[in-house]
Amino acid sequence: MPGDVKVVERPRAESSYVRAAAKGMSITMRHLLSPNKKTQQYPDEKWELAPRTRGTHRMAVHEDGRAKCVACGLCPTVCPVNCIKLVPAEDESGERYAAIYEIDEFRCIFCGYCQEVCPVEAIHLGVHYENAEYSRERWVYDLERLVEQEHDVTALWDPQDPASQ
């Protein structure tokens, strides 16, 4: 047998759970009846996000529905985690466009550099957070999906205070 075990005797008032349970219930009751409830009724109620929230991307389109991206290759170059895949090509009218444009939103760190660097204001981060998917593959957003996104686009800076002073 290892050394002596010291047995501490606690008074009954301290070791009984009845007191603690009663105290807990009283807190629960107080909150239940209080008019000042904090619990948000998600998904019936949604979060209100700040305009500079950086969430999953959205691609801007021209009036005729074509993506604005000119496949310049700046966003894949600037992206610090290399999550943008781009294959440029020439369309029927000789314009440069993105034949393949994919963003792996799992890898993305939502830094916003892609939006900042884009010369034609095509790619944007979005004010958005509901991204749950049943498979990992669905996290790679292709051009079609990026174009279909409907959420607001992120304001990377405050127009009143662009330098954040």
Binding site: T77, A89, P119
Partner: protein, 544 residues
């Protein structure tokens, strides 16, 4: 000493640094000696005419009231040049401001972006704003030849392209049409641009106005890796730079070498170089070791390198020196040919036939060494060094003995080619039909996938470097052959081209005295070749 007679050199001061240059040197070139690159558009070192029309290279010369264009100004004794004075800078900035008046600034979609002299100079001159309210004139794009596009709005009318065609290629089909802000480059009315060297106008264009159709929108300049190489199209061996992206060749550009191709190369070479790496490749070693049902016959089966090399070495050792024949490719590198020769000597095979496809020739009139030659092979001279015999017609297999083929496509060979040989070894980048008769197929890398050297038409040994990863298990021929030989107790297995080259230089008289580092990026003449520099491609061992 210099009363009237021409002095050999002049000494001047450029940006506070004194420099002595041969007399007749222009200030723009003298400045490069002190590390100052004066901005320029119309000046190109390879184009003899200097119209001094872009006014980008203006510099201040002490004692002269006005700025001088340094591309035409001859360096003179005691001249004090200031390339970065305030007046020179302001002048340059004004030129840029002028050029940008109508420039579309579509850098995001322009294939020159990142390698554009307008972009660079707009950046360094800090010309960020335009004072022009008028709309830009828009001209659009045009096809100037069947493979070159012209984006008129990006053109700075430096006329380098026109002058390359007129003064270097002596072909006056390209002109400047119209004047002033309406000026553009076009072919002379009724003429077509159809010159075997016209691709060079794309390389001389300082901006993105001229673009090869094959390259349009292919790759941004910062996505490409550049590798110094040699064109394998013909025995001239133009020095080139291979631009690759994601293990694909996307562009080939000439690399300056005054002794070979000057600043240029031919269009055939550009296309050919890209094609050499297309097509289905041999990627796995294959051997016919019976596969379990006896010693002979059986199927070719894929194996790993160690098994293949062990088996081949065993076979060669067992054969002794039965004699036989060999077919080699005149596109194989010197190192590959050298190691093959060592193996052939072991087998007692003296004859190695090589066949050189022929094509039309084309000359660049003002550069005598640059000529698209009729032989369409990179290294016929090297094949000659190693006991090769120029042959015509389809190869025929030997009756008995060993048969070794090094990367020949075996065009025209019969269906049972090599069937009667005791041992048929095929080393190749691809696997043509007749090669399937081989007892062993060893997959090797193309020239773009390895380091090595070629010997050009005047026996100049030139280095090329690995630009691509070889597919599958393919490896450089010298690497493979050195391992077969090492297993036979002959030398060591080499992993580095230096080792291969060193052994070749030690054993092959034509390469005596050469070292991999000594050859450098510009190449060096093979031993004893100076005397036959007139262009005779053939063995030069005799004198060494």
């Amino acid at each position: 000493m210099a009363e009237n007679g021409a002095k050999a050199t002049v000494t001047l001061t450029i940006d506070g640094v004194e420099v002595t240059v041969p007399s007749g040197t222009r200030v723009i070139e003298a400045a490069e000696h002190v590390g100052v690159v004066v901005p320029r558009y119309c000046y190109h070192p390879g184009i003899p005419t200097r119209p001094a029309q872009c006014r980008m290279c203006l510099v201040e010369v002490e004692g002269r009231p006005k700025l001088e264009p340094s591309c035409t100004l001859q360096a003179a004794d005691d001249m004090v040049v200031n390339t970065a004075s305030d007046t020179a800078r302001t002048a340059r900035q004004s030129v840029i401001e002028f050029l940008l008046v109508n420039h579309p600034l579509d850098c995001p979609i322009c294939d020159a972006a990142g390698q554009c002299m307008l972009q660079d100079y707009a950046y360094v001159t800090n010309q960020l704003e335009s004072r022009v309210d008028e709309p830009k004139r828009i001209m659009g794009r045009d096809r100037i030849s069947d493979d070159i596009l012209y984006f008129a709005d990006r053109c700075v009318i430096c006329t380098r392209c026109v002058r390359f065609m007129r003064d270097v290629a002596e072909d006056d089909s390209l002109i400047v049409a119209q004047r002033g802000d309406k000026a553009y480059i076009d072919t002379f009315p009724g003429r077509e641009l159809d010159n075997p060297f016209q691709g060079n106008i794309v390389d001389v264009c300082p901006v993105g106005a001229l673009v090869h159709e094959d390259f349009v929108f292919k790759a941004r300049s910062w996505d490409m890796d550049a590798t110094a190489s040699v064109c394998p199209g013909c025995p001239t061996g133009c020095n080139v730079t291979i631009d690759t992206k994601e293990n694909q060749i996307v562009r080939v550009k000439p690399r300056h070498n005054a002794a070979v191709n000057s600043w240029w190369m031919c269009d055939y070479g550009r296309k050919h170089l890209v094609m050499t790496n297309r097509g289905v490749r041999a990627e796995v070693p294959l051997i016919r070791d019976g596969g379990g049902d006896g010693d002979d016959g059986g199927e070719l089966r894929p194996v790993d390198w160690a098994t293949a090399l062990d088996w081949v070495a065993e076979k060669v050792a067992a054969l002794g020196a039965p004699g036989g024949s060999a077919v080699v490719s005149p596109d194989a590198s010197n190192e590959n040919l050298f190691y093959l020769r060592t193996l052939l000597d072991r087998l007692g095979v003296a004859d190695a036939a090589f066949r050189v496809p022929q094509g039309e020739t084309a000359e660049l009139p003002t550069v005598p060494t640059l000529k698209l030659r009729a032989d369409r092979a990179a290294n016929a001279a090297g094949a000659g060094f190693f006991g090769g015999r120029r042959a015509d017609g389809p190869p025929d297999g030997p009756a008995g003995g060993a048969l070794v083929v090094l990367d020949d496509e075996l065009e025209g060979a019969g269906e049972d080619f090599g069937g009667s040989a005791d041992f048929f070894l095929y080393l190749g980048t691809r696997l043509p039909g007749p090669a399937r008769n081989a007892d062993a197929v060893l997959p090797i890398a193309t020239f773009a996938e390895m380091d090595g050297t070629f010997t050009n038409f005047e026996n100049r040994v030139q280095r090329f470097h690995q630009a691509l990863r070889p597919p599958g298990l393919a490896r450089p021929g010298w690497m493979v052959l050195s391992r077969v030989l090492a297993r036979l107790g002959d030398g060591e297995a080499v992993n580095d081209v230096r080792g291969a080259f060193e052994r070749m230089a030690a054993q092959a008289p034509a390469f005596a005295g050469l070292t991999w580092d000594g050859i450098g990026l510009k190449g060096a003449p093979a031993a004893g070749s100076a005397a036959e520099a007139a262009g005779v491609a053939g063995p030069a061992e005799a004198g060494a």
